[in-house]
């Protein structure tokens, strides 16, 4: 009705392509990257309602995601150094007063396409497509039940992620931000009859909301300071104005940080991610390892100009990243559930990324995001393949020597490949990206963060240890496995399986080829994505190989990052690419003399030192792991017993195994008090406000009425007395008034 003409015109505009007449033809179709996943999501919903019992939803989703990937690939060539804004249609947009600055809000469905966008979208859509393909087989036992729901969720996720990354303003980013939260919620809670899954989904959403709160407030604050929430205008506004020292401007990065820490599972908001492993494994791979959790990194990278002017905020980011990396690594060392270990490693690796951002290397952080996306997806997907094959078994104590089990050889070796990458074995892609971050930490202008370099190295060793703890235990050694308690596949949502990694005694390990259980080997739809992702993981190091071998400084990732807001105002990249110092604008009093090679670590050039130390840490970790988890597995248990035996060391084991009680701490410090307060408030509302005050006041007239009851005693003289008394009183009163008035 009212809106029909307006809506129609905007739809037409959409069909005609972007309104920017100068845009390249590819840009016309940029919207497809959002639209295709959305369409497939809607189609999945329709499939669900039409009760389609085939793999059609998977086909639709894969096609749509592939289409989105292709769109991004096309865009890749079209976007130059200058960002492009494509308006799809108007969303929240109106002005008041004279419509000048601060007299209007404009947050439209715009796409802001620069190199960073493309870079992020490439691996998001690429991995999305592959993982969807993987999921089409992984979830096949749910065809006709939750299959459409799964792919619907994946589609919605990709749509939201595209909004988040490509959105032209912070409100669009917020839309995507919440949208991926919704998708995450729905997919974690995929097995919705399982109380743990539902609880995990809820936890993820709520913890993320805490972060979103920061983001929302930051958004308001940005508008208040700069009068716009659109990137393009915002950069202009920031450029035009000197760094403000008002608290409002200073608070922005801190609030943004809160949002980023929520979404990217950093201290203190990381607790949701391990629980999120209740979701189907492809979801863990896609959302909770490769893409969504990097949104926080993206946010800070995107908003880098607001961060670099605030050294304290930068240091905070670095510290939170470094400490999260350490904490998560220690927990990861003591877990037995394969997916949870990878979850903690994800948190730990995200910590690296934030460390990188905090020390100013948005390139290093982005690079690590990129490499991490591949190898972590690979690790999760192989874990999923194992889980799929062994009826949900994930306990590393109950799986051994899988590389010798028929049908699992490829999976096993790919997993080991992933382990090398995660451990940042020398000359793997992750080695270079991690190197980039640590070097920057050691050489950062802010002296306060140098110690984080050392922490990073320690974490590198720990990472190598726990990574290969899984690798050696599960894929090598004697062939020994027992199935999980899932019936084959997830045929019934209602089954009540407590897949507790700690619960069942390890003595059961000998069930080996147990009666009728046959591992279910993965077929092509699982193998192909695995191989492709492995290839991707290897190729992710290509820019660095070129640098290393050819001394070719043109690093593709760096180019992508450099030509975006993530590089605007970034402090000089301290190391890695020596040619870019001049390119980085010198803001916030960057001291060129201080940057780069000036820094020595252990008397060496930072680059060399970190490379050597990192390699050393990695190899040390692997060797320890080799001894404890392959050569002499009894030693690991013995070590654990020894540590448990001494009061002085017992806390280390217990603490790490029980995740340093952080969940319990939150429970006791936040949830429980809140619950108590809520109950008190409910009681106040019910008893004091309603039953007490409201009902009390309501009963007041009747109560007063009862006071007067004796006056209506029924005897006529009683009434006469009251009446005559009343008359006398009134008469006396009147005379009194009259006397007072007369005199």
């Amino acid at each position: 009705m009212i809106v029909a003409p307006a809506m129609l015109s905007s739809i037409l505009a959409l069909a005609e392509g972007p309104l920017d007449a100068h845009a390249a033809p590819e840009l016309r179709w940029a919207g497809l990257a959002l639209l295709l996943p959305l369409v497939s999501g809607v189609l999945c919903l329709l499939c669900d309602w039409m009760k389609i019992r085939s793999k059609l939803p998977a086909v639709l989703t894969i096609a749509a995601l592939g289409g989105a990937f292709a769109t991004i690939l096309r865009l890749q060539g079209a976007v130059g150094e200058t960002p492009v804004v494509v308006n799809l249609f108007d969303w929240i947009s109106w002005t008041w007063g004279d419509g000048s600055r601060f007299h209007g809000i404009s947050a439209n469905v715009d796409l802001y396409i620069d190199r960073l966008t493309i870079f992020w979208m490439l691996f998001v859509t690429g991995l999305g497509t592959l993982i969807a393909l993987y999921g089409s087989e992984y979830m096949e036992s749910d065809v006709g039940k939750g299959y459409t729901r799964f792919f619907g969720g994946v589609s919605i996720f990709l749509f939201a992620m595209a909004c988040l990354v490509m959105g032209g303003n912070l409100v669009m980013l917020y839309l995507g931000w919440e949208g991926v939260g919704l998708a995450s919620y729905l997919l974690i809670g995929y097995y919705f009859t399982k109380p743990e899954a539902v609880a995990a989904a809820k936890k993820a959403f709520i913890v993320n909301r805490v972060g979103d709160l920061g983001l929302a407030l930051a958004l308001f604050l940005i508008w208040q300071c700069y009068g716009t929430v659109e990137y393009a205008a915002l950069w202009k506004a920031i450029d035009g104005a000197p760094a403000s020292s008002e608290w409002t401007a200073q608070a922005i990065p801190w609030l943004l940080m809160l949002g980023a820490f929520g979404k990217s599972a950093q201290l203190p908001l990381y607790v949701w991610l391990p629980d999120a492993m209740e979701g189907p494994t492809p979801v863990s791979a896609l959302i909770h390892a490769a893409t969504m959790v990097t949104a926080g990194v993206f946010l800070i990278a995107r908003m880098f100009p607001l961060f670099v002017v605030n050294p304290d905020a930068m240091a905070a980011v670095a510290w939170v990243g470094g400490l999260t990396a350490l904490l998560a690594a220690t927990i990861g060392m003591a877990q037995y559930d394969m997916k949870r270990i990878w979850a903690y490693s994800t948190i730990s690796q995200l910590g690296y990324m934030f460390l990188g951002l905090g020390v100013g290397t948005s390139f290093g952080a982005s690079y690590h995001v990129f490499t991490h996306a591949f190898f972590k997806a690979l690790l999760f997907l192989t874990a999923g393949a194992v889980m799929h094959g062994f009826a949900g078994q994930l306990d590393i104590r109950k799986l051994s020597g899988l590389s010798k089990v028929p049908g699992f050889r490829l999976v096993s070796w790919l997993a080991v490949l992933g382990c090398f990458w995660l451990a940042a074995f020398p000359f793997t892609a992750a080695f270079f990206s991690k190197d980039e971050i640590l070097v920057s930490a050691f050489t950062a202008r802010d002296e306060r963060v140098h110690v984080l370099g050392w922490i990073g190295l320690v974490v590198a060793a720990l990472t190598a240890y726990y990574t290969f703890r899984v690798g050696f235990r599960v894929f090598f050694g004697p062939v020994k496995y027992e199935p999980g308690d899932e019936h084959h596949g997830h045929d019934d949502h209602g089954h009540d399986h407590a897949r507790d990694a700690h619960g069942s005694p390890a003595a059961h390990g000998g069930r080996g080829h147990h009666g009728e259980f046959h591992p279910h080997a993965p077929r092509w739809a699982i193998r192909v994505p695995l191989v492709l992702i492995a290839v991707g993981a290897i190729l992710a190091g290509w820019p660095s190989y070129r640098t290393m071998l050819n001394h070719d400084e043109r690093n593709w990732v760096k180019t992508q990052v450099k030509q975006s807001s993530a590089y605007q105002g970034a402090p000089a990249e301290s190391h890695g690419s020596h040619d870019d110092h001049a390119a980085a604008p010198n803001v916030a009093g960057a001291d060129p003399a201080h940057a780069g090679h000036g820094h020595l670590v252990l008397g060496m050039d930072a680059h060399t030192a970190v490379g050597r130390l990192g390699s050393l840490a990695c190899i040390a970790g692997i060797l320890v792991s080799l001894y404890l988890h392959l050569v002499n597995r009894g030693a690991a248990d013995a070590l654990r017993r020894t540590l448990m035996g001494s009061v002085a060391t017992r806390w280390i084991v217990v603490g790490a195994e029980r995740k340093w009680m952080v969940d319990e701490f939150y429970d006791w410090v936040i949830r429980l008090p809140l619950r108590v307060i809520a109950n008190i408030l409910a009681a106040i509302d019910d008893l004091l406000l309603d039953a007490g005050i409201v009902n009390g006041l309501g009963a007041l007239p009747a109560a007063v009425g009862r006071l007067f009851r004796p006056l209506y005693g029924g005897v006529v003289q009683g009434y006469a007395v009251t009446m005559a008394g009343g008359v006398a009183l009134v008469a006396a009163w009147v005379i009194w008034i009259w006397l007072r008035g007369a005199n």
């Binding site: 029924g714 005897v715 003289q717 007395v721």
Partner: protein, 112 residues
């Protein structure tokens, strides 16, 4: 019609005494009404009050040299007579029912 500007000076003994008597009559009526339970006595007390008011009318009439007060008294007497008839009928009716003249016997209607 008597012109209203003819007025006795204040303090005319007959007026004062009349008013005093009327007030006493009225007060006695009220006190009697409140204190006695016999319905016939109570009715007589209301008659006293009426007559007290009547006496006041006459006294004021004398003060103002105006006859309408006296005219009013005649009407009051008439009305009082009508009331008396009514009252006696009612009392008889009530007495037949309860065999008592006490007003206190009738207290069925009251706040429960």
């Amino acid at each position: 019609m008597i012109s209203i500007d003819q007025q006795l000076p204040p303090g005319d003994p007959l007026v004062v005494l009349g008013l005093l008597a009327s007030a006493i009559l009225f007060a006695v009526g009220i006190v009697g009404f409140l204190s006695r339970r016999n319905m016939i006595t109570m009715f007589l007390c209301t008659e006293l009050m009426f007559q007290g008011a009547g006496l006041a009318m006459i006294s004021y009439g004398r003060q103002h040299m105006d006859l309408s007060g006296q005219v009013f008294v005649i009407f009051i007497l008439t009305v009082a007579a009508a009331e008396a008839a009514l009252a006696l009928g009612l009392v008889v009716l009530l007495y037949r029912r309860k065999e008592t003249l006490s007003a206190e016997a009738w207290k069925e209607l009251a706040e429960s």
